[in-house]
Every structure is written in structure tokens, then in C-alpha cells.
């Protein structure tokens, strides 16, 4: 009995659990805030660090690509489109579901996952 109530009183005097990312209060414009962080005007509370092997934005190295089309075949979301003329691919970030299957299948490691996850945007490109 009263476990939760005791816990509430304890929590009242403890630090909050919330990670105050990117700042304590939500800024008026998030992208404006991020730009001012880049310029070094304001400080950002860092996000929770991602573990190794995190599946973030996928990096495409055009030079290494041999145009084998394996990634096109396994991609569940049509995020990888094959360009017939160049024998290369185009990677659409906004369609990507970040499963990392194309990275696993790529024979030349032209596709690599990165740790980036702050990818939300208004523009589709």
C-alpha cells in the first residue's frame, strides 16, 4: 500500500529523469536554434549517446559502387533507386526505414550506416 505515494514524495526531491534535449525549454524555432548552436552562440544539451552499431542515416559512397543492384532488390521501401545511365544508385533519405539491409548486402561497402538521427525536415530531399 502507498508505494506509489511514497515514491512520488521521493521523486519530488530528486533530479528529473528527462533528458533536456536540445534545450531546457523548446526553442521558438528548432532549426534556428540548431543553426545558432553551430555558430556557437548557444549551447545544446547533448542527446543520449547512441550505441555502436546504431542504424542511422545511410552514407553512400558513389566511387565504391559497382552497380550490382543488390541493395535495390532488398530495400523494403524503394528508398534505393537504380540509375540506368550511370549504373549507380540514388538513395532517398525520406523513404528510408533504416533497416540497414542494403548495408549488409553491399559487396563493396559503398553503403554505410552512420550515427546521425536528427533527420526530420520540412523538405523532401
Amino acid at each position: 500500500m502507498l508505494n506509489m505515494q511514497i515514491e512520488l514524495v521521493k521523486q519530488l526531491f530528486r533530479r528529473t529523469f528527462t533528458n533536456r534535449f536540445p534545450s531546457k525549454r523548446i526553442p521558438k524555432s528548432v532549426s534556428g536554434f540548431l543553426r545558432s548552436v553551430e555558430r556557437g552562440e548557444r549551447k545544446m544539451n547533448p542527446p543520449v549517446p547512441v550505441p555502436p552499431g546504431f542504424r542511422g542515416r545511410i552514407n553512400y559512397d558513389k566511387k565504391k559502387c559497382i552497380g550490382c543492384r543488390l541493395c535495390v532488390k532488398v530495400c523494403p521501401a524503394d528508398a534505393v533507386v537504380f540509375l540506368e545511365k550511370e549504373k549507380k544508385i540514388r538513395y532517398h533519405l525520406f523513404r528510408c526505414t533504416f533497416c540497414g539491409q542494403c548495408v549488409d548486402v553491399c559487396p563493396t561497402k559503398a553503403l554505410q550506416t552512420t550515427n546521425e538521427f536528427l533527420l526530420a525536415d520540412y523538405e523532401k530531399d
Binding site: 502507498l2 550505441p51 546504431f54 542504424r55 526505414t97 533497416c99 540497414g100 539491409q101
Partner: protein, 419 residues
């Protein structure tokens, strides 16, 4: 087309109808409940499904099995391993692929981590439905750790994408094994603490005891599955009845409320008890799996293109079952030697459990609707698949219509109009 008034039954002077949903704060996903109420007491219940039909099965028949893996994850956000697990088992049974022991253990660990995460999330939602937001925030905070472990293990917090036909995609190293062990210990303790908070709270007890009773008889008649069935005293668990993965080595026993509270009433309180105790059960399973983890390969075939080629060569039908946090999930797949499967049918546990809303809600109060609705842990997007839409019409496929359509289709086939 039926009108809402027809379903609810006879209008009378001292009863009135309330419509809960498709958009309502008590519902996390769209479903519509039509209720006939006298004062605060519910006299008639009906519900309408299919507000979130997405045509996933149809999409599946235009993709190769590896693409379907990720599609099946998107059937349900919370239980994304379950659908993939069941789909993999279905395809493996067709192709006769033997899953290496280490992969089976990793699959089991991830599936159980997911069960912990899902049950704690559910506990939070149930607390919110009872108007107890403090307990909700406590539960959600407790859930963070398992998400961190899942992220470390699979590379993402919710969408795990670790399953592969014939194995898993990522191995578990020593450091990760230690993390998982720590999490298992943490959740053994956490389950006890949550039990104290939820089962020991006098107000929660008074709100949930003898609320939404599903008798053993009703439960068997309506084919309820998962914790909903177990809380009514039916010892039903795919992990126990037809063990797969690492479950045969671990030995799972279905959890019923008489082991926790000493009696089985089949009410909301029992369902809370069963789910919270299953967190501990899952933590124990994870501990065993990490300890007994065999060495060896983690996948039947590493190269996705080779695997796809192999699957293109097989024909046949297969089923895959898995005990999801909500109950048994069932996948049927038919391969005909082509890239994409000929047929893919998913039956999610909520489909079985939904009907049990009716005996639960009859005679309850309006105040009990949210918690009863939440007590089966419904997942609408898992369930909604049979909708026909077209310009100017929107129908739910009922039994009659399905029958008519089947007859029509059979005639067409006989006449040889369609292949």
C-alpha cells in the same frame, strides 16, 4: 449499409447511446464502440473495426521475402519482432531451413526483451486509463532501460530489424551479454516493484477487482489468447504448448493469476497481475538464455542474394506461430516458386481478443470502458485488414459477404475465366 442506430438495438426512454471512438482519448488506436447505456451502466455493446486498414498483406504479395521482413515489422510498432518471428518461421518451414542454435537463442532473447517492453508500456497505459498518470510516468521510465538494451543489441530502439530468414542479422558479444544480464536482473526487481505499485494500490484494486470479468467458459468460447486467456485461468501459451526457438531448452510455463494472487477471477486486476508477473518470467528466460548461449553460426545463409535465390526455388505452404506479448500471432505464407509469395495472411492476437470485450463490458460502468478496453491490450492496426473501399462506398467484410465473394470466386475459377 448499416446505420449506427441499428446495431445498438432498441431505443428506449431511459437508455441512451454513447459512441466511443474512432477518435477518443481512451483509445490509442481507432476502433468504434457503440454502447447503449442506462445511467452509468452499459446494457449493450457493439464495435466496429477497420478504421486503420493499410493493405499490408497485399503489399506483401508484391515483395520478396526479405523485403516482407521489414514490412511485417510495420504491422505493429510495439510487437514488431512477433510478426517477423512468425513470418520467418513460416518461410523456414516451407524451405526446410534449419536455424542455427545460437540464432534461436538470440531470437528468444530479443523476443522476450520485447515482451518486457510491451508489458511495461501496457501497464503505463492502463494506469493512464484509470486516471493515474503518476504510475504511467513511473512505468514509462522503467521501460527506458529495456529500450536502451534493445538499441544496443539491434541498432534501434523500437524497430529491431534483427530477424533474418534462417537466423538473425547481428551477433551478441560479451559486453552486450553482460548488459542483457544486467537488464534481466533489473527487470526481475522492477517487476516486483511494479506489482507493489499496481496490485497494492487500494484505489487501483477497487477500480479493477471484479471489473470486466471474462469467465473461463466465455474465454474458451471466444478463443481468447495470450494474457487475456491466461488471466481467465486458461493455460494457453505457444511457448509452452508448441515450444520453438530456445523455449524447449528453457521450459516456459503459462502464467495464471492463481499463482500470483491465489485465485482466478478473470477480471482486469488478474490481467494486470499476469502481465506484471510475465515481466519477471521474461527476465528469467533471458537470464537462462544468456547463460546457456551456444556458440556457432548466427544465420543459415549470410548473403541475402543467395538466400533469395534459394527461396525462389521452393514451393509450398507454411505457418508460423509465435507467442506475442498480446497472445498468439499466426502467419500463413504460400510460396509458388516466384520472387513474391502467392499469399500471406496474418492473424494478430487482438483479432481473437476483441470479442471478449462484449462479455467484459456488459453490466460495467461508463467509467470502466477505458480500462476494460485497454485490458486486452488491443492493437488495432495489427487487426484491421478486411475492408473494401471504392469510390463512394466503404464496407466491412462480414461473414455473409465473405461467403458470397468466395462462392463467386469459385464459380469464376470453375469457368476458367481467371487463372
Amino acid at each position: 449499409m448499416r446505420k449506427a442506430g441499428d446495431i445498438i438495438g432498441q431505443e428506449s426512454r431511459d437508455t441512451y447511446s454513447i459512441c466511443v471512438g474512432p477518435v477518443h482519448p481512451a483509445l490509442k488506436e481507432p476502433v468504434r464502440l457503440n454502447l447503449r447505456v442506462r445511467g452509468e451502466r452499459i446494457e449493450h455493446v457493439d464495435f466496429e473495426l477497420s478504421q486503420v486498414h493499410r493493405g499490408i498483406e497485399w503489399m506483401g504479395t508484391r515483395r520478396n521475402p526479405i523485403q516482407i521482413l521489414y514490412l511485417s515489422e510495420r504491422i505493429c510498432g510495439i510487437c514488431n519482432i512477433c510478426h517477423t518471428f512468425a513470418f520467418c518461421r513460416a518461410v523456414e518451414s516451407i524451405a526446410g531451413i534449419e536455424v542455427p542454435p545460437r540464432a534461436r537463442y538470440i531470437r528468444t532473447i530479443v523476443a522476450e526483451l520485447e515482451r518486457i517492453h510491451s508489458h511495461i508500456l501496457w501497464a503505463g497505459v492502463a494506469a493512464h486509463e484509470l486516471g493515474f498518470d503518476s504510475a504511467m510516468h513511473y512505468a514509462f521510465r522503467a521501460r527506458e532501460k529495456v529500450l536502451d538494451v534493445i538499441e544496443n543489441l539491434t541498432g534501434n530502439r523500437i524497430m529491431k530489424a534483427i530477424m533474418m530468414i534462417g537466423g538473425v542479422r547481428r551477433d551478441m558479444d560479451k559486453g552486450q551479454a553482460r548488459l542483457v544480464m544486467e537488464a534481466a536482473d533489473f527487470y526481475s526487481r522492477c517487476s516486483r516493484k511494479l506489482e507493489k505499485i499496481f496490485l497494492g494500490d487500494p484505489v487501483i484494486k477497487s477500480r479493477t477487482r471484479d471489473t470486466g470479468i471474462l469467465t473461463r467458459h466465455d474465454c474458451l468460447a471466444l478463443c481468447s489468447v495470450g494474457p487475456t486467456a491466461r488471466a481467465s485461468g486458461v493455460r494457453k501459451d505457444v511457448r509452452q504448448d508448441e515450444p520453438y526457438g530456445a523455449y524447449p531448452d528453457v521450459g516456459v510455463k503459462a502464467m495464471t493469476p492463481d499463482e500470483i494472487t491465489g485465485e482466478t477471477r478473470g477480471d482486469v486486476y488478474d490481467r494486470i497481475a499476469v502481465r506484471l508477473r510475465e515481466i519477471k518470467q521474461s527476465a528469467d528466460i533471458i537470464g537462462r538464455c544468456v547463460k546457456d548461449m551456444p556458440e556457432g553460426k548466427i544465420a543459415h545463409e549470410d548473403k541475402a542474394n543467395v538466400l533469395l535465390g534459394e527461396l525462389r526455388g521452393v514451393q509450398g505452404e507454411g505457418i508460423g506461430r509465435h507467442e506475442a506479448p498480446r497472445g498468439e500471432v499466426f502467419h500463413y505464407v504460400k510460396l509458388v516458386g516466384e520472387e513474391a509469395p502467392y499469399s500471406w495472411k496474418v492473424r494478430a492476437p487482438t483479432y481473437n481478443n476483441l470479442l471478449s470485450w462484449i462479455p467484459m463490458m456488459l453490466g460495467a460502468q461508463i467509467a470502466d470502458i477505458p480500462v476494460i478496453a485497454a485490458s486486452i491490450d488491443p492493437c488495432m492496426s495489427c487487426t484491421n485488414r478486411a475492408v473494401v473501399t471504392g469510390p463512394g462506398r466503404r464496407q466491412v467484410l462480414g461473414q455473409d459477404m465473405l461467403h458470397d465473394l468466395s462462392v463467386k470466386r469459385t464459380r469464376e475459377l470453375r469457368r476458367g475465366l481467371r487463372p
